[in-house]
């Protein structure tokens, strides 16, 4: 077994090295007349008076031009959110769902479909995936990014990002950090708050002339979880103290006028109480490491970029199931080369190839590992048909090879060769943007995304006891999500109000579940993960935002969404730990009002969720319980003591000492005091 693993790793390293070599050769062989400039987000934003992104089709675009329904949360909005973490920022965004299980444990979804260990969302930091491959979810505490290091958070709703490939099914969140070569960010902040919160964060940038720069960010916090009671069915573990620490270093070197090299390393640890995908609490520990290198060059054949990164994740959940803790260890290596170029004045194209290798050890029964390799090719074509109409088409083909090596428990219903499977999955998005007048923009969107079975439910999760046997399955199919959408933006010219409307219809096939399957064996039955059916969603999103007399800024977002699940009989009513139609609130309203006057800033955020249901675990499987409608109020008051010092008090769930918002423990009021120093 070890020799097989060793050979597999050698093969991986050889392939990665080969890709890197090819990328390097490509760069070296480029024509001499090249002029490098990676995305200078700040300069572009100042030029157009609006944020700029590359997250939708890979090419640089103004937010108002993108062929997708997209929200960009700016650094100012992050600061004024008063949040202590990224989910706290996201919860103020219309169309985003958060399930707050604890003080540090939040699941985030876009347009509903949110569950514990939410796995239908692709989360990236500067294009590097930060979701965990074991269950395809994002442990937000382990994301090694400080809020003060973020330039903008880009939220793309729906599967409108074919260029990212797998997992971008309900949306993509791409966190863009400051580039030390262009942005000089130096901040220290210290926070204390309720639940015993003590936190510190620092971001420092240093430039070495005009050719090189480095940004170091680090932060940590320590807090207690909520003290509200844990429902009996979820009380698998006693709450422990929570903490987080993260460090991230980014360096950018202008190798010459033609070429930029970026390198990044990060490390994070987190300990928190966490709702598991089977709706019981575990004490979770995370450790992540990452290394990334990116080479960018402008050439006669376009803007070329070669990226390679590796993420390591260690995740321990105790007490696990039947007192068998889980020790997930995974690694993903991604190498990608793309080129963006123009043909004439009206056509922008992007071509890319990508290689990805994921591997995960089995747990709690050890001795095996699951791996997959993905070979991808993608292309994008943006055509400015007229001065008012543009059409974007993006297509990506992923070819996935699944495999397993190692130990097979006696009586196991699968052999390693059952994992020798291959999928070829296309994903695409097509968007027509029509601007009939300066104040109007209409979007027609069609897209198809794929959710890959994560490594946990593909077999890395393996529990074998005399009484209970649970396993991932090699027989899972990727879940395919198709989305049709019409969007309209209108600017009311006089009062400077932006109105946004979107209507979407989404169809998900082969929904993936951790349970739902049952295989009898002579040694007893195995409960296995499975594809449990289909789901349809239809929704309407309306938004208004504007400014008033320069001092005030305001916004209101409303979402109406109806989901209809069509699951196999043994997955009905959440029995297979998945229920989308009952757990997604039909109505969601988010409103905000901000005020600035001299040294003072005041921001308030209101959130309303209509009645819904929440999943809970039972002795046999899972079911749902009612979650009443709720309204929350968040706020922040800040005073700039000097040009450099700011003092702020912020809070979440301010109107209630505790409030039931999920099927988990009630959410407590939080109040934080933060002192920031910019230098």
């Amino acid at each position: 077994m070890n020799s097989t693993l060793s050979i597999s790793l050698q093969t991986l390293h050889a392939r990665t090295a080969l890709l890197l070599l090819l990328a390097a050769l490509l760069m070296v062989l480029l024509p001499a007349a090249m002029h490098a400039q990676s995305m200078d987000y700040g300069s572009l934003e100042r030029l157009f008076n609006e944020p700029v992104t590359t997250s939708v089709d890979g090419s640089p675009q103004r937010q108002s031009d993108v062929p997708a329904t997209m929200v960009i949360i700016t650094a100012e909005e992050i600061r004024r959110s008063g949040a202590k973490d990224i989910p706290g920022v996201l919860r103020h965004v219309g169309g985003i769902d958060t399930l707050e299980w604890g003080n540090d444990n939040v699941d985030v979804g876009v347009r509903g479909y949110n569950q514990a260990y939410s796995s239908r969302l692709l989360v990236l930091v500067d294009g590097r995936q930060v979701y965990a491959d074991d269950y395809g979810y994002t442990p937000w505490s382990s994301v090694p990014v400080e809020l003060n290091a973020i330039r903008q958070i880009e939220v793309i709703k729906g599967p409108n990002c074919a260029l990212f490939g797998f997992n971008a099914v309900n949306g993509v969140i791409n966190i863009i950090t400051y580039n030390p070569l262009y942005d000089n960010v130096n901040t220290i902040s210290s926070t204390v708050g309720t639940q015993g919160l003590v936190a510190g964060s620092a971001v420092a940038t240093h430039k070495f002339g005009t050719r090189a720069a480095v940004r170091l960010s680090a932060g940590g916090n320590s807090n207690s979880d909520f003290s509200t009671s844990i429902p009996i069915s979820e009380a698998n573990a006693l709450r422990k103290h929570q903490n987080r620490g993260a460090i991230n270093i980014v360096g950018v070197i202008r190798l010459n006028e033609k070429m930029l090299l970026g390198v990044e390393a990060s490390h994070s640890t987190a300990q928190l109480n966490e709702m598991s995908p089977v709706y019981v609490f575990n004490n979770a520990k995370y450790g992540t490491d990452s290394l990334k290198a990116q080479l960018t060059a402008e050439s006669g054949i376009g803007l070329l970029q070669a990226t390679v990164y590796t993420n390591w994740l260690r995740n321990t959940d105790t007490p696990g199931v039947m007192n068998q803790p889980f020790h997930f260890k995974s690694r993903v290596t991604v190498a990608e080369v793309h080129d963006i170029f123009k043909i004439g004045t009206d056509h922008t194209l992007r071509a890319a190839v990508e290689y990805r290798h994921n591997t995960e050890s089995s747990t709690p029964t050890t001795g095996a590992s699951i791996h997959n390799e993905v070979f991808s090719a993608s292309g994008m074509w943006n055509w400015k048909i007229t001065s008012t109409i543009s059409l974007t088409n993006a297509l990506r083909i992923d070819h996935l090879l699944l495999g397993r090596v190692g130990y097979l428990p006696p009586g196991y219903p699968f052999s390693n060769s059952d994992w020798n499977r291959a999928f070829t999955q296309p994903s695409f998005n097509s968007g027509l943007v029509w601007k009939p007048r300066e104040a109007d923009s209409i979007r027609l969107l069609v897209s198809r995304g794929n959710q890959l079975p994560n490594l946990g439910i593909s077999g890395a999760f393996l529990l074998v006891t005399p009484f209970l046997k649970i396993s991932g399955s090699p027989l899972l199919k990727p879940s395919v999500v198709t989305n049709y959408e019409i969007g309209w933006d209108h600017i009311f010219l006089g009062p400077n109000i932006l109105f946004r409307a979107s209507v979407f219809d989404q169809h998900s096939e082969d929904i993936l579940s951790t349970g739902g399957g049952y295989i009898p064996t002579p040694n007893g039955p195995y409960l296995v993960s499975s594809n449990i059916g289909t789901s349809e969603a239809t929704g309407l999103e309306l938004g208004l935002k504007g400014t008033l007399r320069k001092n005030y800024r305001w916004g209101v977002d409303y979402r109406l969404e109806r989901i209809s699940d069509h699951f196999v009989p043994n997955a009905l009513n959440g029995a297979a730990y998945i229920d989308y139609d009952d757990t997604t609130p039909v109505h969601q309203v988010k409103a905000k009002l901000g005020w600035t006057n001299g040294k003072w800033e005041l921001d308030t955020y209101l959130q309303y969720h209509s009645v819904s249901r929440g999943l809970i675990s039972t002795a046999r499987a899972a079911t749902t319980i009612p979650v009443p409608a709720f309204t929350t109020l968040d706020g922040r008051v800040a005073y700039n003591l000097t040009e450099r010092f700011t003092w702020a008090v912020s809070g979440q769930n301010l109107t209630h000492a505790s409030q039931l918002q999920t099927s988990g423990p009630a959410v407590e009021r939080r109040v934080l005091g933060t002192l920031s120093f910019n230098f």
Binding site: S43, L47, F48, N49, P60, A439
Partner: protein, 186 residues
């Protein structure tokens, strides 16, 4: 006597009103859209790779010598540019130029802002910027029709930047690829 002691106060009031009127007149001389356009023009320089890397950036402000009040407007624009900073906080050095003096201008220019109304001298401008390798920028709607500006700026609810790629090539201007992808290319 009692009346007299108010005279200094009245003088202050009159003086204040005068200053306000002059101020208002000056504000009228350059409206918000023009200020936005000039700011956008300066921001485009961050993406002009052919711009010399060091020293102050010399920005000519060209006005039509046969248009009344054009010089005053050009001086307002020059004054505004003088308060701004270029890429990497570089100093901007404005220089007011009349169309009648353009052909014989002996000095060096990095950028030429075309004030409203100068595009009727398009042939002269194009010949001059080609020979001096200068990037011309304007928010005059006529500049796109007469093809005398490398960068055309339109402000309003949304800032639109158009790049005349042929003219950019003719004057030797090189913009970053990212910039050319995000603006309109003509």
């Amino acid at each position: 006597m009692r009346y007299r002691k108010f005279i200094p106060n009245i003088s202050i009031v009159i003086l204040t009103l005068f200053v306000m009127l002059v101020g208002v007149r000056s504000a009228h001389a350059m409206d918000r859209a023009s200020i936005d356009a000039v700011q956008a023009a300066i921001h485009t320089l961050s993406f002009l790779e052919s711009l010399p890397k060091d020293g102050p950036i010399i920005v000519g402000v060209l006005y039509s010598s046969d248009t009344p009040d054009a010089r005053a407007m050009a001086e307002s624009i020059a004054q505004l540019i003088g308060t701004m900073r270029g890429p990497n906080s570089r100093t901007l050095q404005p220089l007011v130029l009349a169309t009648s003096a353009l052909a014989q201008f002996p000095g060096h220019l990095d950028v030429l802002w075309l004030a409203a109304g100068v595009c009727k001298h398009a042939a002269l401008i194009v010949a001059s910027i080609r020979s001096h390798h200068v990037v011309s920028i304007s928010d005059d709607p006529q500049c796109a029709d007469t093809q005398c500006c490398v960068i055309a700026i339109r402000t309003g609810q949304r800032i639109e930047i158009s790049l005349n790629t042929a003219l950019a090539g003719a004057v030797g201007a090189r913009f970053s690829l990212v910039f050319t992808m995000v603006v309109r290319r003509k």
